[in-house]
């Protein structure tokens, strides 16, 4: 228990950033801190850093598990193969479409849900419990539920919505590209809107009621209050929600695997990578795809952070 006592003593000391020299106590604290984070850091790195370097290395080889003797160094040719393949670009496009549509729709629905959860005075627990069910449910289960709902023979979507001009009892949702994409997107939105709405709810509860009331007294309409007071004041929460959901949606895999297995050109980037590596044993080519996928996620994260100036440290109260 010396750990906690030293820590308490050190923490209660004034947080002098610029120390002239490291005292024995701060050196001990430094060492203890590093020891405490070491196990977590090692576990995180073992599974990510080593395989990532391995992928980087393998991506420079022609290497197929079924013909291991044929392994040969080919430089960047795997990347050239991938980047000039229309399949790669089609799947990247699909992924971007899914990401943009789901995040956009979820932002609107999630915000509406957050408003309801924020305003509601009765049955608060019931609403929050209900909203956590899609969050907690297994993605594969949600994908099956929606696949069956959209099913031609056994689904309720066709019979319930046949009054819409473009839906007939014999509409085959998984028979062509856009309807299949629609079904996949619906299942993704259903499953992940709760996460979005809870993050937005957290942001919403930070907006001061006084400010909203003041705006109301000054004659601002509901719409003006929403756009001029509420949304600007919860920017940080919105951006964190968008960042997390966008990166999550970009990795979409489970729904597609269950609902179409990539049929009707509904493959995503993750699905393409999986198919190359696990189903076709193309470790060389697949590694190149892995590296590109990783770079795409990094680029996306960087873009969102820069574009919207998300300060994660500030959002966490670290700064």
């Amino acid at each position: 228990m010396t750990t906690t006592t030293t820590a308490t003593a050190a923490a209660s000391a004034p947080p002098g950033r610029k120390r002239a020299r490291m005292t024995d106590r701060s050196r001990a604290e430094n060492r203890l801190g590093q020891r405490l984070v070491a196990p977590a850091v090692i576990v995180m790195l073992v599974v990510t850093a080593y395989p990532m370097f391995q992928a980087l290395y393998l991506s420079l080889f022609r290497y197929r598990l079924t013909t291991p003797d044929d392994k040969a160094f080919i430089g960047l040719r795997n990347y050239a193969t991938v980047l000039t393949d229309s399949l790669f670009w089609r799947d990247t496009w699909n992924t971007i479409v899914i990401m943009v549509v789901t995040v956009g729709v979820e932002l609107v629905i999630g915000f509406a849900f957050a408003m309801v959860m924020h305003r509601i005075v009765f049955a608060r627990g019931t609403v929050r419990t209900a909203i956590l069910i899609p969050y907690g449910i297994i993605t594969v289960v949600s994908a099956y539920a929606w696949q069956f709902a959209f099913s031609l023979n056994n689904g309720w979507v066709n019979s319930w919505f046949s009054w819409l001009p473009w839906i007939a009892p014999e509409t085959n949702w998984f028979g062509s590209h856009w309807p299949a994409m629609f079904a996949i997107i619906v299942s993704e939105i259903w499953k992940t809107t709760p996460f979005m709405s809870l993050l937005l709810l957290a942001g919403l509860s930070q907006v001061s009621e006084d400010m909203i009331e003041a705006a109301q007294v000054d004659g601002a309409t509901w719409w003006q209050r929403l756009w001029k007071v509420i949304i600007p004041n919860m920017r940080a929460a919105i951006m964190v929600a968008v960042l997390f959901r966008a990166l999550d949606a970009f990795r979409i895999f489970d729904n597609i695997y269950v609902m179409t297995r990539g049929a009707q050109s509904t493959e995503s980037s993750s699905f393409l990578t999986y198919r190359q590596v696990i189903q076709q044993f193309q470790l060389g080519l697949g590694s190149a795809l892995s590296v590109l996928l990783f770079l795409a996620v990094l680029l996306l994260a960087w873009l969102i952070v820069k574009l919207f100036r998300v300060d994660l440290a500030q959002a966490r109260g670290e700064a």
Binding site: P15, A40, M52, V116, I120, I138, L199, D254
Partner: protein
């Protein structure tokens, strides 16, 4: 005027409440209803929502009690071993991940040490990592190390991918704990162990518990690694096993069986959500609360 506005807000909230409930529960009620439809009914096509003839035959086939339908004799053994794998792997990964995360989060929340920002950035980077990108090298490595198709083969990566969320949640919780109380207890004559156990543990426990729930959800849900790093029922988890459920007719998926298995694996989630709703919400929003 004011009264009518209030009424309008109340009606709006009521409508929103009903919409949220329908939105969240409809697909769940749907798989529940589907699980009571017999194979004959779904094979013939039954677009109506509720079963024409209610039957629990699917539950008999999936859980293996009573008379099992012909052709489904192996279904319940496969499913039950997947259920066992899922529970075991998720539980072990959760316990280990939460222990490691507690140590790390304590250090991040309370100690001043070099590399703190680096650890936080690493955690963030891993939270965003495309899991599929690891599947190839990990598959290769696990076969060499003999971890392919074993429990540790899934537990280790599940720990890595849940640690960021757990560290994130826990360090937010730990930062809120009034640590001075520990000293106060010591001044009042408690030993440091007593102070830790009687003061700090009760304060930190809710946070640790929340991190554990979120970690368990992740491991229970994970699919990409589960299908890539397993090959038999020795370690295949429920999400992976579900995707292998194919009846005798490949053109006619066993709707009822899949729905029943889905219901069975959703029950633990619903129980956890019902019991710990507040904790889960607090854990999920701990990162975004401070704006």
């Amino acid at each position: 005027m004011a009264a009518s506005k209030e009424t309008r807000t109340r009606i709006g909230t009521w409508i929103g409440f009903v919409i949220i409930l329908i939105w969240c529960l409809l697909p769940v009620v749907w798989i529940l209803s589907l699980s009571f439809k017999g194979p004959g009914e779904t094979a013939a096509g039954s677009p109506q929502f509720l079963p024409k003839h209610w039957t629990i035959q699917n539950y008999r086939d999936v859980l293996g009690f009573g008379t099992v339908s012909t052709g489904q004799e192996g279904t319940h053994t496969d499913f039950l071993s997947a259920l066992r794998n899922s529970f075991g792997i998720a539980a072990v990964a959760t316990v280990l991940s939460v222990i490691f995360a507690t140590l790390a989060a304590y250090a991040i929340a309370r100690l001043d040490f070099k590399g703190k920002r680096l650890v936080l950035s690493l955690a963030l980077a891993i939270a965003m990592f495309p899991v599929v990108a690891l599947v190839g090298p990990l598959f290769d490595l696990w076969r060499v190390l003999g971890l392919f198709n074993t429990w540790p083969g899934l537990i280790i990566p599940y720990m890595s991918f849940t640690l960021p969320l757990a560290i994130w949640t826990l360090s937010a919780f730990f930062r809120e704990i009034p640590w001075e109380m520990e000293q106060a207890a010591q001044v009042d004559g408690a030993t440091s162990w007593q102070a830790f156990r009687k003061v700090i543990v009760p304060l930190a426990a809710p946070g640790v518990f929340t991190a554990a729930i979120l970690t368990f959800f992740f491991a229970w849900n994970e699919f990409v690694l589960a299908i890539s790093l397993t090959s038999t029922t020795a370690s295949r988890t429920v999400p992976a096993q579900l995707s292998f459920f194919v009846g005798p007719d490949p053109f006619n998926p066993p709707y009822g069986l899949l729905a029943t298995a889905s219901v069975v694996v959703t029950v633990p989630i619903i129980i956890i959500v019902l019991l710990f709703q507040r904790k889960i919400v607090a854990g999920l929003t701990s990162g975004a609360v401070k704006g």
